[in-house]
Amino acid sequence: MFNALYLELFVVLLGVLMLLAESFIGRHTNRVYIALGGAVGLLVVLFLTSVSGVPPEAASWPAWNFYSPDPQAKIFKQIALAITILVLLMASDFIPVLTKFLPAEHPNAGIGEFFALPVFICAGLMWMASAVHFLMIFVAIELVTITFYILVAYQRRNLLSLEAGVKYLILGALSTGILVYGITWIYGVTGSFHLETIALRLPDVAEGDGKALLFGFGLVLIGILFKVGAAPFHIWIPDVYQGAAAPVTALLSVGSKAAGVIVLLRVLECGFASPMLRAELATALQWFAALTLLVGNLAALPQSNAKRLLAYSSIAHAGFVLMAVASVFGSELTGPAIAFYLGAYLLMTALAFHVLTLVTASTGSDEISAFNGLSSRSPFLAFAMTVALLSLAGVPLTVGFFGKLLVFIPAIQAGMLPLVIIGALGVAAGLYYYLKILRAMFWLLPEEGSHIKIGKVSIAVLSVLATLILGLGVLPLPLMGLVGYY
């Protein structure tokens, strides 16, 4: 058995190797190989993850107090690894746009780093998935967030990108502050950072300390919801998503969200040890879920920029996940249902952003109008995007529909009728804004008739993703088995 603790170390090492490769290879060597190498390395780690665990000789290590190698962590690590691999492949298609916005000492300057940074983020996401100690949670989140600060602002000559970076930095720092402040309150009441210990001590907390505890958990909840992108802590999302490079946005919207969700689940599981907290937090979550669904779906309606639209849609998807979270532990299948949803979300978001990347690289625009007439400029891309959009909209026979089904079931079972109705309205709105892109692709005529060229690797990636989305939409068992929904 492979020691689970080494997984993240491998990933960090891989990132360092990629940085070294960037500094030692010649100026004119194609940087795509760094990305491909990184993807292959992560693929190896993805395999190792599935065989990882606690080897007997390491069972007494104190590190397990911080780090849990449980199956749930494994799933979320696999999600993090998969999206990073896809983002690396996506990023290699993004080079033409990137070189335009980088100060060019030579044409390949700064591209290797752009490939290496997501790998460090991946390590952070994986640590988040395993973190069962507030210190660990904090450090892992910071690794992710700080690296994202760099990546978001990476296109130094693009004003939007710089603006996005500054906004993300300020709001991100603020949310981290809130998170830490909440942690200190919890520590103040319970005397521990360790989630399990806190859960054990919660029932014995004195009556008078209840308010303090609620305050602490409330702040932590806000800090995490910021990362997940739930309303009303979503203000940063549209601008940051729009400003960042498309592959970075994909990583942000899948990786950051998924890791945030598992931290949320762990903290809630701990907080629910106290019945008082359970009642209060569950109510709060229902409100947040409702608000997130409304804001995400309604604000997406008028968008004319594809990236901004996908940003709001990512808020909406956070809402659907929160809807299941709000019914937390009503059934033992809620956790796997959420993981399934995120797995499906990963596939369809990666596909949508990859097509967006290719379209942006070819037209230089990420407005919805850039998709006009895509069905005649590149039928293959139009088909791939259609699959992604239908899945995002939750049309049956795609994996996205199964995701929706699985998160609506616990909500309906828990009898949260208002929330279910809001969710249904959200699905209706989603149909409209996703079809807007579909309409542009099939219905409107292209502004410029140029044919879009796609590389072989991209064709392979897009085909695999589209096949997975459709295949798992009919036979979802493999993914269900992976997330433990059985």
Binding site: S375, P396, A428, L431, L435, L438, R439, F442, W443, L475
Partner: protein
């Protein structure tokens, strides 16, 4: 190949067709070929189906998600055979009819084939998950067909129809989930036959049944354009290219009725009872309110759109009268077939008139019969069928529905039962349809010509003559021999009813 794959074959064929077109084969040829094979298979299915004892036959199962008890289960009962027959006949007609399109024929025929596959898939699925999913397959193609090749105010029509249908089916989905997950864990299944057999849903508390039935009624109802959820339909049908309107109004829309007959009504008897009277009110509105709206239309395509909404009232009436025996739903089944064929014929004719004359405004046309006698002939037959004159399949259907309504009224204890009123109102509808249909025929084909046709306009071409004849002959066949349909569906509807304990 085992026989039980016959229903699967019927919906695999159009799917294979889309693939062949995507790979580059001649689109029109592939579309006609695959739907022609479909029609052949569905006739074979009808012949191979054992009429007595009826029930579900050709059942084929593959488990998909055992945790949720979702399985890919296909099979047909008499009703299913009928629906598949209707689907494939109308599909052939829709693919073969001219004028096709000049622009982007590939996408066009792929969209049409997807609608046809979605309908056929839904009608042969015996698992609620796939029953629902296949129907949704048609959602996006409809959007594209109206949007790209539509007429008039196509953008609004496309959006409205898509959002309405999307929301309607999502409400339906929530209702289905609520129904299944209100059951005890061991009784939970998506399998329709299993649900009918165990009768587990019938023993849910009446309040639960009532609100779930409401969701199902709203969901299925908006797909069938039950007032007040009908406003998507007339404009969508008016704007859609003729084959899309034929497939949608003729076939796909009947999904909701099948759902009511096979799922909502038998599985939730107490819920159906609660909502019986509101349903009667709504269906009366369908007949009279929409009927009057139809009379006031000044354009053929919109008039046909409204008329197809109006006729749904009769079909709902048949289902509502189930309490008085199977006559009502059998009448509805007959009408499903009859209405499907006649509305497809009408939309097909309207499409051809539009392409020949360039307008469908009543005030701008007239006297077309001199120039286009064959079109006038077919149109008159279709209009007679739609009014419900004897000799066409619509007549026995409407007769059965009204008879069932009177029977249900006689069963009531009060002096004037709600059914009396409903049947009385619905009978008015026959008069209303006679008014608008005959007026439409008159202003299109008779009187003084208001429009000068281009000199090269010829009467309908041979291909279209065949298509129209096919539909007309089918209408006449089932009009003269309605026993074919009743013998097919009555035992199955009886079985569905007795499974779930409805009288």
């Amino acid at each position: 190949m085992s026989q039980s794959t016959l229903p699967i074959l019927i919906f695999i064929l159009p799917l294979a067709g889309t693939l062949m077109i995507a790979l580059g084969l001649a689109p029109r040829f592939v579309a006609i070929l695959t739907t022609g094979l479909m029609a052949f298979c569905s006739v074979a299915l009808w012949i191979a189906y054992t009429l007595t004892p009826g029930g579900f036959q050709f059942v084929f199962t593959i488990p998909v998600v055992s945790k949720l008890d979702i399985s890919f289960k296909t099979g047909v009962d008499g009703l299913g055979v009928l629906m598949l027959f209707l689907t494939s006949i109308v599909s052939v007609a829709a693919m073969a009819i001219r004028p096709g399109v000049e622009t982007r024929p590939r996408l066009y025929y792929i969209c049409l084939l997807l609608i046809s596959a979605g309908a056929a898939g839904a009608f042969s699925s015996l698992d609620l998950f796939f029953f629902y999913s296949f129907h949704e397959l048609a959602l996006i193609p409809t959007f594209l067909l109206i949007g790209i090749w539509g007429h008039g105010n196509r953008t609004t029509a496309a959006w409205r129809a898509t959002i309405y249908l999307g929301v309607g089916s999502f409400v339906l989905l929530i209702g289905l989930i609520a129904m299944i997950f209100s059951l005890s864990p061991e009784a939970r299944t998506f399998d329709i036959t299993e649900l009918l057999k165990t009768k587990a849903t019938a023993s849910l508390p009446p309040e639960t049944q009532s609100w779930i039935f409401l969701l199902l009624l709203l969901g299925f109802g908006s797909l069938v354009s039950l007032v007040p959820f009908h406003s998507w339909a007339p404009h969508a049908y008016a704007s859609a290219p003729a084959p899309a309107a034929m497939l949608h109004a003729g076939v796909l829309k009947k999904f909701g009725l099948l759902g009511l007959i096979r799922v909502a009504q038998p599985l939730l008897p107490a819920g159906a009872e609660t909502w019986l009277h509101p349903l009667l009110v709504l269906l009366c509105l369908n007949v009279v309110f929409i009927g009057l709206a139809t009379v006031s239309q000044r354009k053929l395509d919109l008039m046909l759109g409204y008329s197809s909404v109006m006729h749904m009232g009769y079909l709902f009436l048949g289902i509502a009268a189930w309490g008085a025996g199977v006559l009502g739903p059998v009448g509805t089944a007959t009408l499903i077939l009859a209405h499907g064929l006649s509305v497809a014929l009408l939309f097909g004719l309207a499409g051809e008139i539009r392409s020949k004359v360039g307008t469908l405004e009543f005030s701008e046309t007239g006297g077309l019969a001199t120039k286009l006698p064959l079109l006038a002939f077919f149109f008159s037959l279709a209009a007679f069928a739609s009014i419900g004159l004897p000799g066409f399949a619509n007549f026995p259907g409407e007769l059965m529905v009204f008879a069932a309504g009177f029977k249900a009224a006689a069963g009531g204890s009060d002096g004037v039962a709600p059914f009396h009123i409903a049947v009385g109102v619905a009978l008015l509808g026959v008069l209303i349809s006679a008014i608008y249909m005959l007026r439409a025929f008159g202003s299109l084909f008779l009187g003084k010509p208001h429009i000068r046709l281009a000199p090269d306009v010829r009467d309908t071409c041979l291909g279209n003559r065949l298509v129209f004849s096919l539909l007309t002959i089918a209408l006449l066949l089932f009009g003269f021999a309605p026993g074919l349909v009743t013998a097919l569906v009555a035992p199955s509807i009886e079985a569905i009813g007795s499974f779930a304990g409805t009288p």
